[in-house]
């Protein structure tokens, strides 16, 4: 068994172990890895955002004569006004512009992507005849449970009324449905995380230590 001689594989392997050392407790080795990670990633993202967003979308078109880009550039420069207390109020212009535009656009996306398809998806299985003929018994039961789950969960998210009486019972059933869904999601995601752990262990044992072939 020969460990790799690649210097960057060594760096990655040692830094992986340094991060895992946090499982024991906070220690200088972890701190060193943390500072390297935070500093490198901050620098990487600055370069990434410049070359993938700012330069090709703002400055390159401006150099080609698209003078409309002066507006977003001016808004971007306003972000720097917060460096001085006297001019920091100007930072509110780009912030409110981004907020208003993006939230407005998301209204349509939410209606189109979530609301309408989920509405239709809830009652689409209830085709005449199919519920009692085409589907098997448990499939039909599953669709009925889905319908009850959707309706009662909607009532849990009513904020205009106190959860009392029928609304109280319905919202309580709704929260049970939510918890069952969370349990299933928890198990599913944990499996995904374990596969990530395997990926990292495979790197350590195979690429670095050459224990695994």
């Amino acid at each position: 068994m020969l460990m790799t001689t690649g210097p960057w594989v060594w760096v990655a392997g040692l830094l992986t172990l340094a991060i895992y050392s946090f499982l024991y407790k906070d220690n200088p080795v972890y701190k060193m890895a943390e500072y390297i990670f935070v500093g490198l990633s901050a620098g990487y993202w600055a370069a990434f955002l410049w070359w993938n967003y700012a330069y090709p979308n703002l400055f390159e078109p401006l150099a080609q004569g698209n003078y409309w880009n002066i507006i977003p550039i001016a808004m971007g420069l306003m972000m720097f006004t917060q460096l001085s207390r006297r001019t920091s109020w100007m930072v509110r212009f780009p912030l409110t512009f981004v907020l208003g535009v993006s939230l407005g656009l998301q209204i349509v996306a939410a209606v189109e992507g979530d609301m309408v398809p989920q509405l239709a998806g809830t009652f689409s299985p209830f085709t005449r005849g199919a519920m009692f003929n085409t589907y098997d018994f448990w499939t039909s039961v599953g669709y009925i449970v889905l319908l009850v789950g959707v309706l009662t969960t909607i009532t849990y998210f009513f904020f205009s009324k106190e959860h009392k009486g029928i609304l109280g019972v319905s919202s309580k059933i709704g929260i049970y449905f939510l918890m069952v869904a969370f349990g299933a999601s928890f198990g599913y995601t944990i499996m995904a995380r374990i596969s990530l752990l395997f990926g990292r262990l495979h790197f350590l044992l195979s690429d670095w230590m050459h224990v695994l072939k």
């Binding site: 990633s41 907020l99 993006s102 904020f159």
Partner: protein, 411 residues
């Protein structure tokens, strides 16, 4: 050119007569007929190489309806060769040029038997010319150039009436309820969530212990509604820390979110009459990298040991790492997100969790702003309508009426 095509058609017909006659033969003769077709095609290819296929005809161009002006529909009549000898055409290439004299470049391919193609790589208002090329086993023939065709943007997508109706309905309800909330002068009711008391309790505990309050706004920037809702709760948290004189520590993942958090916290400190207590260095940028940020925040938790941790906003894979580390430090933890996959982690590892829309409702309720509270009530009214629509939809479906489902389908 036309004479050549007619001559070719006549010769093809003559050659095809035996095949057509065999079409009337019983089904058990299908296999010999196929082999005869193939043999005939090969024979014709050998006799008139490169000219056996007739070109697709009557190529027409139309702007694709209900789009952003980036697509042209190309239609044609399939090659006569394909009609007479099935299998003689393998596929059609759709060729495009920006002038009739320039080189035509292939933009798409469809199988034999297809007579249309949507070219979705066009620019609005720019002229394009098209040819359709029939491709056989050994030969290919292109139609005459057709054009110019233009793609144009339509202002309205007729396949999305339903989206318009629901958007207008929801907006209308929200506006109506905002107006009602404005006129009710602080009397608008929203259900009190247990987390309201928990916020005060957590900050009070941090104050008694002389430790920091840590506030994490999630992994998305200010263009996400969850981050905005988080700002509303941050305003309340900052008011409390200003009153109690407790340090509020806010590491940020996005620079714009940091700027917004600074403005929010500064306003809260001013509102509480403690502008001198506000320190903008307590709200700082860490890194935009997801796990770099996680490593940094974990380090802060282990070293500063904040007594109250708030995780409110959009969270992804970092949720469990934060919540577990915070739990290990013994902090009171209050979380909230609308990311369904991350909620289970917060539910198991935090003391209080705002589930999905509760995050927005809590933000509105804590702000006391009639616009936000009216907005939540308007959304409740929309939910009631959707509730009824689902019930009516199920009843209609069971009665064999698919009208609502068809109307709701997004084309």
């Amino acid at each position: 050119m036309m004479l050549g095509a007619w001559t070719l058609m006549a010769s093809l017909l003559l050659c095809a007569l035996p095949v057509l006659a065999q079409d009337m033969a019983p089904a058990e003769d299908a296999a010999p007929q196929d082999s005869l077709d193939r043999a005939l095609t090969q024979l014709l290819n050998q006799i008139v190489p490169g000219e056996i296929l007739s070109a697709p005809e009557k190529v027409s161009l139309e702007d694709t309806p209900s789009d952003a002006g980036t697509s042209i529909d190309v239609a044609w009549h399939i090659s006569a060769s394909e009609s007479i000898i099935p299998g003689s055409v393998v596929k059609y290439h759709v060729m495009r040029a920006e002038s009739p004299d320039s080189e035509f470049v292939r933009v798409g391919t469809v199988p034999a038997g297809t007579a249309s193609y949507s070219d979705d790589g066009t620019e609005p208002g720019k002229p394009y010319w098209y040819k359709v090329k029939a491709v056989g086993v050994d030969s290919e023939t292109a139609s005459e150039a057709c054009g110019p065709g233009y793609s144009r943007m339509q202002w309205f997508d007729r396949n999305r009436w339903n989206v318009l109706v629901f958007t207008l309905l929801t907006c209308f309800l929200v506006i109506i309820f905002i107006e009602i909330a404005k006129r009710s002068k602080g009397e608008t009711f929203l259900r009190r969530l247990p987390v309201f008391d928990a916020i005060d309790e957590a900050i009070g505990r941090a104050t008694e212990m002389g430790k920091d309050v840590l506030y994490i706004m999630g992994g998305l920037d200010v263009d996400d509604p969850q981050t905005v809702a988080s700002m509303n709760i941050l305003a309340r948290v900052a008011e409390r820390t200003a009153s109690y004189g407790t340090k509020l520590n806010i590491p940020c993942i996005w620079p714009m979110a940091m700027s917004m958090a600074r403005e929010t916290v500064k306003e809260s400190y001013l509102r509480m009459g403690r502008p001198d207590e506000y320190n903008e260095d307590d709200i700082y940028y860490l890194t935009t990298d997801q796990f770099g940020y996680v490593a940094g925040v974990d380090g802060i938790m282990m070293r500063d040991r904040p007594a109250a941790n708030f995780y409110l906003g959009a969270f992804y894979a970092e949720s469990l790492v934060f919540a577990e580390t915070g739990y290990a430090t013994g902090a009171i933890q209050i979380a909230g997100t609308a990311e369904i996959d991350q909620l289970p982690f917060f539910v198991v590892a935090c003391d209080y969790t705002l589930i999905g829309e509760e995050l927005y409702a809590a933000g509105a309720s804590l702000s006391g702003d009639p616009i936000q509270m009216g907005s939540i009530r308007g959304q409740d009214a929309a939910k009631a309508i959707f509730f009824v629509l689902i019930v009516v939809g199920v009843i209609l479906k069971l009665a064999g009426i698919d009208a609502i489902e068809e109307w709701l389908s997004i084309g």
